[in-house]
């Protein structure tokens, strides 16, 4: 049995919304798990059930070997960082950190020690006497983290804690959270709708869609081997290109080109997925791209254009190649890195 176990967990809200469907998931001690998915897919609901802030409609959740379905959130020994931080506005930073410890009847000196240690770790020692309203976004973020860390809980829960920060700070805090988690070693679940955040933070990640875990795995597994159209489209930036096609006897025909001897026995309508970074320029390549627009990022160029059938398409090439607007490129798929999905079910078939 692993550290946190979800078994067939379902959540139906009183108004009838089915937010989570029969989800099962195991998280090991010390693991950094990320739930990623579009807004409204049920990630927060799942997290809040672990915290005890939402009732579990069906299924079981156990933490550290104990069934916690009926355990009150205050008794679960979990800590949560909220999107808006939910700092206590009338208490100074010190008391924000100390409050949870006081409620657990810990003596004053131990509290002081713990708060000071946590403050040092998060570099907020200088602000201990300030009220949250006198802190910057990044500092508030740290206080929220401190409040979680200081209690030394069994599990950290993060609900999109970085989405209120500006882009630069977000990247910085992302890094800090990862470092901190590695240092403290607490089992963590992190919820986000940002796939870059998910990829960079996760030991393992769960891609959630419509209340179902579509795929579970390490970031690289999921990037290399998406099991469904949804996962393929959600993970990776810029997004994977999708083209309509049809398979007959191991031959895939798409608009304008064919791929022979594919690794699939599937016959019928499919969607072909190709990542922009898995293409290279050759003579007489499979795909002809008419360039509309080039975004130069320095390290890379993102080339946007259209195929013969006016379908939008993106190609990513090293930044040192110069590509003219309006030119025609001939592209090949590198190392047969393409993905084929059943058009009706969205399931991967190669």
């Amino acid at each position: 049995m692993s550290f946190l176990d979800l078994k067939n967990v379902t959540k139906i809200y009183p108004n009838g919304t089915k937010a989570v469907h029969e989800t099962s998931l195991s998280i090991d001690e010390g693991e950094f798990m990320v739930f990623v998915g579009p807004s409204g897919c049920g990630k927060s609901t799942l997290l809040r059930m672990v915290a005890g802030l939402e009732d579990i409609t069906e299924g079981d959740i156990s933490l550290d070997g104990k069934l916690i379905n009926q355990v009150d959130p205050s008794e679960r020994d979990v800590a949560m960082v909220f999107q808006n931080y939910a700092l206590y506005p009338h208490m100074n930073v010190y008391n924000n950190l100390a409050y949870g410890l006081k409620n657990r009847g810990i003596d004053k000196e131990t509290i002081e020690q713990k708060v000071n240690d946590a403050a040092k770790l998060l570099q907020i020692s200088d602000f201990l006497q300030r009220k949250p309203s006198m802190l910057s976004g990044g500092q508030r973020q740290r206080v929220a983290m401190g409040r979680a860390i200081v209690r030394n809980p069994k599990i950290f829960l993060f609900d999109e804690p970085l989405s209120n920060l500006d882009a630069k700070l977000r990247i910085q805090m992302r890094l800090e959270i990862k470092k901190l988690q590695q240092k403290v070693g607490v089992t963590s679940i992190f919820v986000t709708h940002d796939q870059v955040e998910a990829m960079t933070l996760a030991d393992r990640l769960a891609v959630i869609n419509n209340g179902i875990i579509e795929q579970l795995g390490t970031p690289i597994e999921i990037y290399d081997n998406p099991k469904s159209l949804f996962v393929a489209g959600f993970i990776g930036s810029p997004q994977m290109n999708f083209l309509d096609g049809n398979i007959k006897n191991k031959t895939l025909s798409a608009e304008g080109f064919e791929i022979k001897d594919i690794q699939s026995d599937f016959n019928g309508d499919v969607i072909l997925g190709i990542r922009p970074e898995h293409l290279s320029q050759t003579e007489n390549g499979l795909i002809n791209l008419k360039v509309d627009l080039v975004e130069q990022l320095g390290s890379d160029n993102l080339v946007y254009g259209q195929l013969k059938d006016k379908k939008d398409f993106c190609y990513r090439c090293p930044g040192n190649q110069t590509i003219e607007k309006g030119s025609n490129l001939s592209l090949n798929i590198e190392n047969n890195k393409y993905y084929i999905f059943d058009k009706s079910t969205g399931k991967r078939v190669n």
């Binding site: 915290a51 959130p73 800590a79 949560m80 909220f82 808006n84 009338h90 409620n103 009220k131 309203s133």
Partner: protein
């Protein structure tokens, strides 16, 4: 800095407002330092007279009433106790009932809230006879409990607290829960400090309400020991002159000035709290 005509106009309006508030009080005070005869013959006064200490001494120490049992000082104390009791209980009870209505999402919360709200339509004056019956059946006439108890429920304050609590983000409660706070702790450690301003404002408001009660104390007190300021204003300092009851106007002015002190005191004490809360937005 150049002064714009609009600013001058604004100041004129403000000064007029201040005069409107201050002049009547000044006239009352100035008149309270004269002789009744002077006021009756010459009208109200703007200047300070010579009878300050005599008039105020009489007001505080002279026994009045039908049976000459009560002094004005005693009535101030009675009113102060009554107002303090009403304000304290009103604020406590409304804050707690609003807490129940907002945070315990039981099915009847909304109907119950509206039921409470409807009681605004039946103030004490409307239900005074049934109230009197109950209070007298409980044997509470001529007691502070009897003066205070029928007035302690407040729909207005419940409404304001409810509206305020609803603006507090849910995450605060959730976060507190995860930090091990039970319902009672959340109320004491969060809602009370966060609604400090509100509590101060409500307290002032309710204190003045309690202090200026007239009909209820008039009906439920038969013993002069429980007379209140507003009742006394009509009754004491009356002199019989050739069979006609004549008011002792100068003493009455002194009485009015003194009767304003307790509410003013409450405002002065609480306004610091009140203004501090207004300046620091802590949400």
């Amino acid at each position: 800095m150049k002064i714009k005509p609009l600013q001058i106009l604004a100041h004129i309006i403000l000064i007029l407002g201040v005069l409107l508030m201050v002049v009547p009080i000044w006239i009352s005070f100035a008149s309270s330092t004269h002789d009744t005869v002077t006021i009756l013959t010459e009208g109200m006064k703007f200047n300070i007279g010579e009878y300050f200490s005599r008039n105020y001494n009489e007001v505080l120490n002279e026994k009045g009433g039908w049976s000459e049992e009560v002094t004005a000082a005693k009535m101030f104390i009675n009113s102060f106790i009554m107002a303090l009791g009403i304000a304290t209980l009103k604020v406590t009870i409304s804050a707690m009932s609003a807490y129940a209505l907002v945070y315990y999402r039981f099915k009847l919360a909304v109907p119950i809230f509206w039921l409470i709200f409807i009681t605004l339509l039946v103030p004490l004056e409307v239900r005074i006879f049934p109230t009197y019956k109950i209070v007298s059946d409980l044997g509470l006439t001529n007691s502070y409990t009897g003066l205070i108890l029928p007035l302690v429920a407040s729909a207005t304050a419940t409404f304001f607290f409810r509206q305020f609590y609803r603006t507090i983000p849910d995450e605060l409660l959730e976060s507190a829960k995860l930090d091990g706070a039970n319902s009672w702790r959340f109320f004491i450690d969060f809602l009370v400090p966060l609604s400090k301003t509100m509590i101060a404002a409500m307290f002032i408001f309710m204190f003045v309400y309690g202090y200026s009660q007239y009909l209820w104390p008039l009906i439920m007190t038969t013993s002069e020991k429980y007379w209140t300021v507003v009742m006394g204003m009509k009754i004491i300092f009356t002199e019989s002159y050739e069979g006609v009851a004549l008011p002792r106007t100068a003493e009455r002015f002194a009485y009015i000035i003194l009767s304003m002190l307790p509410p003013v005191l409450v405002v002065v004490i609480l306004q610091k709290w009140f203004i501090k809360g207004l300046i620091q937005t802590e949400k």
